[in-house]
């Protein structure tokens, strides 16, 4: 989507503290258009806060972030209430024209909006259930529609906060595949906060690893290693690869590969 050599996002010497406590620091990374980047790190380290800094709703303590692209944002959520009787399609539609004031009286514009909504729903493979109330859909189905909504205004940079959170394993795999295909086929740059790197590890171009006080960025093979993480945490960390290719980080207070307490309090 972007001309070559014009990065989608540049973060230089960034640091974030909240109430005098340094969440992370020393973050420098350049992200090219169409890359799929994961933001990893233990609970409470400030992963969501990094997304908010990129979004511009929270200021960095030092350093700077340079972006020149339209951003789509999908915050962390627990899903819609099961009794919410609003059609899923309407949610995508709000992404297209929900910020517009006044009545939509032009039939030509209405047709264009409908066509765009159809296109977005097809893109995330949600056509068969988009007519149903959002509250009745599964977590994976809701997540697909929310991704469609986030893509509505043609963002070239998509910020996703734990989109695989609370999905079952098959859905984690299929939503991860969807996000990877957006990068590959649509040229969208994706920054995604993840609790567990394994469902997406095969698709990632780069990871940003946040640790208390520090940060590291690079490819998966550069960053998720015993040496880099031991250096980052200043305590012995071992990265193991299981026989089926899953990464397990051992020795870190709350390892990203372990399921359990999923809530990232860093941004709240």
């Amino acid at each position: 989507m972007k001309a070559a050599g014009n990065p989608a996002l540049v973060i230089r010497d960034a640091a974030m503290s909240i109430g005098g406590r340094v969440l992370w620091s020393n973050l420098s990374v350049t992200i090219e258009p169409g890359e799929f980047v994961a933001i990893l790190g233990p609970n409470g380290v400030g992963k969501s806060t990094l997304l908010k800094a990129i979004l511009g709703t929270r200021a960095l303590t030092s350093g700077h972030i340079q972006r020149n692209s339209e951003i789509g944002y999908l915050p962390q959520r627990r899903g819609f209430d099961a009794s919410l009787r609003v059609q899923a399609r309407e949610l995508v539609r709000l992404g297209v024209d929900g910020t517009r004031y006044g009545l939509s009286l032009s039939p030509r514009r209405s047709r264009a909006v409908r066509a765009r909504v159809d296109e977005l729903i097809a893109l995330v493979g949600a056509a068969s259930y988009a007519h149903r109330p959002i509250g009745e859909l599964s977590g994976g189905e809701q997540q697909r529609l929310l991704i469609a909504q986030a893509l509505a205004h043609h963002p070239s940079l998509l910020l996703l906060d734990e989109p695989l959170d609370s999905l079952d394993l098959p859905n984690q795999g299929s939503v991860a595949e969807l996000i990877a295909s957006l990068c590959r086929d649509e040229g969208v740059t994706v920054l995604m906060v993840a609790h567990d790197v394994n469902p997406i590890v095969g698709y990632l171009d780069r990871v940003i690893y946040l640790a208390p006080g520090g940060a590291a960025a690079g490819s998966v093979s550069e960053v998720i290693t015993s040496v880099t993480l031991t250096d980052l945490y200043r305590t012995p960390i071992e990265v193991l690869t299981t026989s089926d290719g899953r990464l397990v980080v051992v020795g870190q207070p709350e390892a990203p590969a372990i399921h359990g307490d999923r809530h990232d309090h860093g941004g709240h």
Binding site: L55, T57, I71, Y73, L74, P75, R77, D81, L84, R85, V86, Q87, E90, L91, L94, G95, D97, G98, T99, R100, Y101, G102, L103, S104, R132, P133, L146, Q149, A150, H153
Partner: protein
Amino acid sequence: MLGTATVGEFSPNLVSDLLDMWSAPFMVNAFRAMTLVSVLGAAVGVLLVIRRESFVGHTLSVIGVPGASGAVYFGGPAALGYYLAAGIGVLALGSRRAGGGARLAGQNAAVGTFQAAALATGLLFISLYKGFLGGTSALLFGSILGITGAQVAQLAVITALVLLALALLWRPLVFASLDPVIAASRGLRVGLLNLAYLTLLAVSAAAVAQITGGLLVFGLLVLPAATAQVVTTRPARTLVIAVILGFLIGWASLYSAYYTDYPVGFWLTSIAFAAYVIVRVGHQISDRVNG
């Protein structure tokens, strides 16, 4: 309703009944006022139902009781009391959401406290002003008597303003109501939109309460929208169906109140409730049949 000899008998011919009722000027005003507030209440109620803030709506309705009784006690017009109380309600409830995005639905205890205090104040004014006792029932449960041309005009202005504001703000209001975090990230001023919504709701409740009474505003505010949501999941369609339903419920309750001894608020709520139950049950049956 009137207890005087002017009331004709109800006949199955609804048109002749209507002409019969309209021979009394006060009933012409009642129909005008009811048409306005039923459309107004149903339209605003759609947002209330989408946001699931029925309790907030009820509180903003109930504060009309101390507003109106206070106004009468101090010798002012009741309508002024309704709107002043609505303004106080917006300030009290709106200030808690100054941060933007925060929902009142999560603060039921605070809202409930406010509601209880409002009712207590209303009862105080009513008991202080002994001569007002006859009007207590009207204040709480509504009345179609004594609606003046000036009051109809006042309701028409309020209805026009609220509907105009709704038309201008509709999509951003729905967006901010369904998904405040994402709406804010897309640049909408969610805090201001919430305040606008709260103001529209309070003003509408104050208008509707003048006809239905403070306790039964719900019949027009929540029930038409809740009923419409059973049959459609699209907000714009919900709006259209709710307005038509509200209009029909309003007129049916005027017929009923005119030909019986029960207050209009009772009829309004009962008919609206019956419509809700019928639609809900009918929808469930059709769901079963269609698998």
